[in-house]
Subunit: 227 residues, 2 copies
């Protein structure tokens, strides 16, 4: 598939590298490619070095990445900037495409653990769908850290669960193909996009588990009786 990743943080880079490794055509979108390219990825790596290590991945503007994406646009920036980033990617570049949102509505202004800036009777996923009615929005992967999103088998052989929410069954099916390629084996389709209220509101528990366990190499498995 031809896939755009919006966001250059840990989540965006991890998903981009994994998708490229799986043979997909990947571009990473950022606000200002020249400015991002001039920054360091981390203390050991420049963006030029990172791109050299990941041949085939291009770093372009949000709009160029979304325009090039024939199949899937992944929103992997902070939840707080989701609507703004997707507007920068441009409505016409999202129309009809699968827009996979893996972010969470965390309000960084509230200290740690952060509160949610939308919850209970609404969700970030629904806000994105409302702002971009022609996009086929799917929520998934937001309930685990980036390494587990891309390599679920790295924890307990992958014996843990990922959730999917969305109004378009075909769009969810496309996302499920990617999830299975990543290695996810226990995928629960929660239903329509408003069920993302459930997976987003799990984040406060995730944050307390992070606090109690002292690391984020964990995920939940839904243990259930046969249906």
């Amino acid at each position: 598939m031809t896939i755009a990743i919006l966001g250059t943080g840990m989540v965006g880079r991890t998903l981009a590298a994994r998708l490229a490794e799986l043979g997909h055509q990947v571009s990473i979108g950022t606000r200002d490619p020249a400015a991002t390219g001039a920054r360091a990825v981390d203390e050991h790596t420049s963006w030029d070095g990172w791109l050299a290590d990941h041949p085939g991945i291009s770093l372009v503007s949000y709009a160029a990445a979304a325009a090039a994406a024939a199949d899937v646009v992944i929103h992997a920036a902070n939840g707080a900037s989701a609507i703004e980033v997707l507007h920068a990617a441009a409505r016409e570049n999202l129309a009809g495409k699968v827009v996979l949102d893996v972010s969470n509505p965390l309000d960084a202004s509230t200290g740690f653990p952060p509160a949610l800036f939308v919850e209970n009777t609404d969700s970030l996923a629904e806000r994105i769908q409302a702002a971009f009615p022609d996009a086929r929005v799917v929520k998934s992967l937001n309930t685990m850290n980036a390494a587990l999103m891309a390599h679920p088998e790295s924890l307990a052989g992958g014996a843990h669960t990922v959730f999917v929410s969305g109004n378009d069954p075909e769009a969810k099916a496309v996302v499920c193909v990617l999830l299975r390629e990543f290695g996810h084996t226990d995928i629960i389709d929660l239903g329509a996009l408003d069920t993302a209220r459930g997976s987003e509101m799990y984040l406060p528990l995730w944050l307390r588990l992070f606090g109690a366990l002292g690391h984020f190499d964990f995920n939940i498995r839904v243990v259930r009786a046969a249906g």
Copy 2:
């Protein structure tokens, strides 16, 4: 231990029966014992019949149950009436005691799935603690259905997780003793009582899982790397 259960619904009856079976001295509190006693438990069972089937369990007023409880008072009524029920049990009967809240702040007026009536920057557990500052409030068991609270081994041999939150370490230790007697083997202490925001905000995901799976014989297991 001598334990009071406040609430005569499925959760209260299930916990009362299990605690009595384990050898504890149990009383069930209700607003009006005569009125409750005159009602049916279900279409096959009267309250008199239920009490006859559970020798040693008494059905008394909220205040009488809480006064008799030497060790633990369990709030097992609806979250929406928690504060009112605990006021009926009377502040002086709760002072210094472990008050285990297993309820959830579900707002029944919002249809299905219900929204929460407190969330994000507060929790029902914290509201109870604020209203009864002399009680030693612990939150636990609210993340699963009543049958799994009392008999975790009935699902996957008990290979799933229960959470504990509270400000008083000794009170949490008392609750953990009961949890282990029930059969819980994976108990995660999330920390202070405000971490109940996490376990209470999991409920919206629980409700969507109930919708997707079509039954509530499930619970989550926190799969994690060694700490």
